[in-house]
Subunit: 212 residues, 3 copies
Amino acid sequence: MQIQYLLELTGTGLFAISGAIAANKKSKPDWFGVTFIGFITSIGGGSIRDILLGSYPLSWVADEKRIYVIIAGIVFTSLFFNVLLRLRKTLFIFDSLGIAMFTILGTEKALAYHVAPFIAAIMGMFSAIMGGVMRDVLTNEIPVIFRKEIYASACLAGALVYLALNTMDLSRNMCLLVSVSVIFGIRVVAVKYRLSLPQFKREKVPETDDGG
Amino acid sequence: MQIQYLLELTGTGLFAISGAIAANKKSKPDWFGVTFIGFITSIGGGSIRDILLGSYPLSWVADEKRIYVIIAGIVFTSLFFNVLLRLRKTLFIFDSLGIAMFTILGTEKALAYHVAPFIAAIMGMFSAIMGGVMRDVLTNEIPVIFRKEIYASACLAGALVYLALNTMDLSRNMCLLVSVSVIFGIRVVAVKYRLSLPQFKREKVPETDDGG
Amino acid sequence: MQIQYLLELTGTGLFAISGAIAANKKSKPDWFGVTFIGFITSIGGGSIRDILLGSYPLSWVADEKRIYVIIAGIVFTSLFFNVLLRLRKTLFIFDSLGIAMFTILGTEKALAYHVAPFIAAIMGMFSAIMGGVMRDVLTNEIPVIFRKEIYASACLAGALVYLALNTMDLSRNMCLLVSVSVIFGIRVVAVKYRLSLPQFKREKVPETDDGG
């Protein structure tokens, strides 16, 4: 439990960093704006999961340490901004690990509320992606999950793997390790080879007929 | 109750279809994006109503069948996409019926939480429109309810009719039938004759004065 | 308590007025759109605070008078639109007072839920700013809190002042008076002298190298 808590705090800080970097690209926000976006990116997904589950108190409301970690992440981003920009690839690795971990921990939390397994997988995915969705909505962009390489679907796939493993006679650590690796692996491969899901439907250009 | 549940499931599927078609118009989303938007369009309004009421568990969290219906709706949309596009008018009829039904069922649910009648009407309207509002926000559009023909106001009017009938000595079925018809009727007439509510205020162009 | 309730109702109406004026600037919304945006601007912040705290029922759900005040505010805006536009400075004063008051009352409410002081300050700030954030998201703008003069940070500062005073041996009225004045003062000075927080980071323009 102690290790899980430390991992969660680390993930919270990393999400704040990536949120702050993403926020800063847009329209020169001030310190407050960047901190606010970093905060939402970091705690948004877990908050949405908890509100949908009716799981009160929300984890950051009950534990102000998460806020301090977020603030530390923002200050760190400010101090080492150009270093962080150069470490883009390393950051991507940590971000992918964070997303993978948040998905599976979110799925576990939802299961504890006795929802159906597939609902738990959705909750796990929401934990990981909804912070980013809110960040994109607030900065007036179309959410990245609709545009980019396989991302949310990797989370969902990993959550389903976790649920499958969970029905077998395996230790929790083994289930966690495998399913986190699945998400991380899909994500890294997808970005490296620019894999994306097939487009849904191409609307046929209507036949031109006069006056139409 | 059985019939109501079947109607709700049908409405959920129809909302997913209309959400998927709307999502697909924007920036060529992939399968995941379309499914996600269809999902939000379909369960967003009811979720907002339930969160505002504090009514837990949310209906889709407690009942995964709604999720399967949504997925079926998306797959159906994919298989019969061009057919659906041609059936635009038929879809509009079903969509209007769905909106009308969700409004009144949402109003009833809110009344069960002993809120004031007018609050219940707002909750009913939210059930019907908020999924579409969230869809529009996520695809970076100004919500359709602010731009188009009488829509949300038809829901509110129908909910108020329901509340009025509810104070009389009528059967529940009669109240439902009349108020759903009111919403459906207003909506169809509004679209057919392109009726819209009056614009709020035209800001006067300020008098031009040099240097202004 | 009576006075506080009257102040809250007044603030609710004022927020609806400022929301309606802001909404009307965008794309000629109809009466419904303006009322909807006024409503969200007015009750959005408090609703987000209450949902995050799990404080049910939400105040406007439990008390329909707030809705009537909002509607009155919208009608008032319609009747006296051009007068209100000319009274921009007076409105700004009232808006700033409203924001200050909502922040501190929100902070107090959060404290009653036994959250940590810093969390309470965040909740207070959310009460004051989140309605405006939702208004901006719905009208497809980048939230004003990321762009303009010191605003949300003034709320946060005032909430922290309140918390500091609260640990001392002062009456509640004194704590309220001082902290509301702090927010109001910062806001007025910031707008008068166009003060803003420092920009977070300027991304270095990358060195141009051929083929980059």
